[in-house]
Symmetry: C2
Subunit: 213 residues, 2 copies
C-alpha cells in the first residue's frame, strides 16, 4: 500500500488526536512549563518534526487539548442545562451527574490546577480556559438559574453568584485531589461531595416560603 | 546610642516581621519558585546575610509567612466556630464575615494560588498550607456543623462535605480574582458572593421539614 492511499491518510489524520491525548497526559503529569515537546511526540508515536506539522507552539497544543478533551463535555452540559421543560432540581441533578462523570474519568482537575498555577507565566492558558470552559459553564448554569427564577422554581438572587455556589465545591474537590491528597491529606470523595452538595444547593435555592417571586 | 542598647535590640527583633511581610508581597507577586531571596531582603531593608540569620531556606520563610500572616486569622475563625451557644445560622454569618474581611484585606488568594500551582515542585508548600490552614479551617467548620446537627439545627449529612460546600465557592472567588480577572474576565464580587452564598447555605443546611434528627 502506498503513502497517500486511504489507509495512510486515515492514519495521518488520526495523529492530531493521538498528540492531543499524549499532550493531556504530559501536561497533567508535568505541568505546562515543564512539559517537553519531545516527550509529547514520543508518547504520541510521532517525530518532533511531525508535531510541528500540526501545531506551531505548545500553547497551540494546549488549545487543542481543551477543544478536543474538554469542550465536548461543556457542549453536553450546556445542552442539558438549556432544556427548559425539566424542573430545576432534576435539571441540576442531571447536570451534576454529567459533571461527576467527566471529573471522575478525565484529567480535568490536573488541567485546572495547571491553569491556576501557570497563568502568571502563560496568561494564554487562563484566557483559553476561561473563554472555552469556565465562562461557558457559568453562563449555562446562570442561564438555567435565571429561567428557573422566572418560573418561581429558584429563589431570587444573582444567578451568576448562585452558579459560583454550585460550581465552587467541585473545584475545591478536584484541586484537593491534585494538591493535598499527594502530600498525605485524606482524599476528597468526589462522588459523595457532588451528590450531597447538589441536594444542599437544591434545598438552598428553593423559593422561600411566603416570598413571592 | 550604642548597638545592643534596647532601641537597637527592638529594631533587630522587628526584622523577622518585616521579612515576612516583604516575603508575602514577593511570593504573591512572583510565585514561590521565581521569588528571589535578594528581592525579599531588599524589600525588608536587610542584607541577604541577615535573612539567613533568621531563615535557613525559602521554605522556612514560606512557613513563617503562613504562621504570621494567615494562622492568626485561622485561630480567630476557629475560636468563633467553637462557640456552642450561638445558633448555627448566626455562627455561620459571623464566621463568613470574618473570612470575608481576611480575604479582602490579605493576599490569601495569591498564596492559595501559589500553593496550588507549585505543590508539584514544592510539596512542602502544600503540606504546610494543608496542615496549618486548610485542615484546621475544615475541622473547625465540620465541628460546628456536627454540633449543629446534634442540636437539630442543621440537616443530617457528612459534616466534612458540608464544610466543602461552604468553603468551595470562596476558593473559586479568590482563585478567579487571581487567575481570570488579570486576563480580562469580569471580576468575582467577593463580598456579594460570600454573603449570598452564606444565605444559600443557611437555607440549604436547614433541617428538612418532617425529617427528625
Amino acid at each position: 500500500m502506498q503513502a497517500g492511499s486511504p489507509r495512510w491518510r486515515r492514519r495521518s489524520q488520526a495523529r492530531p488526536g493521538e498528540i492531543v491525548q499524549a499532550a493531556l497526559d504530559v501536561f497533567a503529569e508535568k505541568g505546562f512549563a515543564a512539559a517537553k515537546l519531545d516527550e509529547i511526540a514520543s508518547k504520541a508515536g510521532v517525530s518532533k518534526g511531525a508535531l510541528y506539522l500540526y501545531f506551531e507552539t505548545k500553547e497551540d497544543i494546549f488549545r487543542a487539548v481543551v477543544r478536543e478533551a474538554v469542550v465536548p463535555n461543556i457542549d453536553m452540559v450546556e445542552a442539558m442545562l438549556a432544556q427548559a421543560t425539566i424542573p430545576f432540581p432534576d435539571l441540576l441533578r442531571l447536570a451534576l451527574a454529567r459533571i461527576e462523570a467527566v471529573v471522575e474519568t478525565s484529567r480535568l482537575g490536573a488541567v485546572a490546577k495547571l491553569v491556576i498555577g501557570e497563568s502568571r507565566n502563560f496568561p494564554e492558558l487562563a484566557r483559553v480556559w476561561h473563554d472555552e470552559v469556565v465562562s461557558r459553564m457559568l453562563a449555562a448554569m446562570s442561564g438555567a438559574l435565571e429561567r428557573a427564577q422566572m418560573r418561581g422554581e429558584v429563589r431570587l438572587g444573582d444567578p451568576r453568584l448562585q452558579a459560583f455556589s454550585i460550581v465552587g465545591p467541585i473545584l475545591l474537590g478536584v484541586i484537593w485531589q491534585e494538591t493535598f491528597t499527594p502530600v498525605g491529606a485524606p482524599p476528597a470523595p468526589l462522588q459523595s461531595l457532588i451528590r450531597q452538595h447538589g441536594e444542599t444547593m437544591i434545598a438552598g435555592l428553593a423559593p422561600r416560603a411566603g416570598v413571592s417571586s
